[in-house]
Amino acid sequence: METYDHLFRREAGRMVATLTRIFGPHNLTLAEDVVQDAFCRALEVWKFHGMPDNPAAWLMATAKNRALDVLRRESTARRFAPELGRLLDSALVPAVEELFGANAIKDDLLRMMFSCCDPRLPEEAQVALVLHILCAFSVDEIAGAFVSTQAAIEKRITRAKKTLARSKGLFDVAVASEFSARLPAVQRALYLLFNEGYHGASSERSVRVDLCREAMRLTCLILAPPPGKPPATHALAALMYLGASRLPARVDASGNLSSLFDQDRSQWDQELVAQGLNLLDLSASGSELTEYHVEAAIAGVHAAAHCAQETDWGTIVSLYDTLMTIRPSPIVALNRAIAVAQCHGPERGLEEMQRIADANRLAAYPFYHAALGELELRSGRREVARDHFRAALRLARNPMEHRFLEQRVTVCENGSPRQG
């Protein structure tokens, strides 16, 4: 069963993409209904007869037959994709067969991905739409992943779908110039998707791993066609692989959150590290230096170190300096301050923390307060440190963060030495 993990989720994205190509974006809901129907049939049939030899092909064939039914039955009532509009039945079958060909499906996935990352949509709506349509996350699952309410996500997705439905067709990825123009938005959405899994607030470890995995899968997809290969996409993939290599160590044996400083690095996935470093090499061409290059380089420096103390913090600080010029943000400044502290001591780190522009945007982020606490603790000011950790604790977004921060408060109070 292992190889079929997430088969339904993976195939759902492919099926919806292809059916939307056939029915047209204005019939997205119909495409989703057909897919839902195919999965219901699979569930009913497979539970009695077991899985077919090629379950993906079975699902796709079921979706295709349902699509043909719908096209025949509703061609007078509905408007479908223009190329299928006036086909007679004899021509309809081969035309639909062709649209269900393996290569066509791959293209449809790309088209759908690029359509979801429509600049008319806010970034968080793009990410939600990618998750919903291409990764087949239910509204509930997305709400869980983003720690949002079902109603809020429902609204976000419904609006985004309406925008998508107004477009004449799916985004045409075959036009190289348009592909390149839309690519940064797609990269950004995938980056945000990965980050939601990596740094997000969901307490479910499996949910977060899922988000990271889906982001990586879709990034590999945009690496496939020739125009998708610009260095920035390789850099994006590199930072995901290097980040994902650390996922197994982010939670320790007793289910507690483990910071980069304390992680058991023998648990880092060396296979992913190797792939990540290879991708990083591939990204080093051309003249454009993107934020993904810099973030991947930072992840690469961490990957090369056997422990936090052995890390080349000087390089990391200068990489953060570069990142601050490319894409400044309070979070980047925060991470830079932490690196400065590693390099030049906690007092210098605290000075950098004071200098963060827009620090108020970090006010609700528990790890901003935790970082202040950490540096104060290292400077020997236990009570100040404790207050920062308490502030962080009040902002904890899930039980795991809560336990982690509670423990830091205890360390401040008991004076027991820092672990690890």
Partner: protein, 112 residues
């Protein structure tokens, strides 16, 4: 050993493809376990939710579905068990019971 029919009622759906896959995997694991313990006489078949009803001397034909969708039989399985109690115990592992309307009807097959 006696034979029993499990009749499954209720719509077996999931909120997302991932959930549906999980449901399917539970079914497959349950069937496998029944088989390994020697209780599975025939895995049976799923039934389409629509069909026809032929009624009375006039042989009047009407469309299904029958009663409410949640009451319709979605499939059946032939089970071997020592007695009705054991058959009932076996049915308790059926994943359809995890759904809101899920029902397993356990019926002994009459012997010759």
């Amino acid at each position: 050993m006696s034979e029993y029919v499990f009749l499954y009622r209720g719509a077996d759906r999931g909120a997302s493809p991932e959930m549906m896959q999980q449901r399917m995997q539970k079914w497959m694991a349950w069937m496998k376990e029944l088989g390994e313990k020697g209780h599975l006489k025939d895995r049976g078949h799923p039934l389409e939710r629509v069909g026809k009803l032929v009624r009375g001397k006039k042989k009047a034909v009407t469309d299904g579905p029958f009663a409410e969708a949640k009451d319709a039989i979605g499939g059946y399985t032939l089970i071997e068990a020592s007695d009705l109690d054991q058959a009932v115990e076996l049915s308790k592992g059926c994943p359809i019971l995890e759904t809101e309307d899920g029902v397993v009807e356990v019926r002994p097959i009459m012997k010759m």
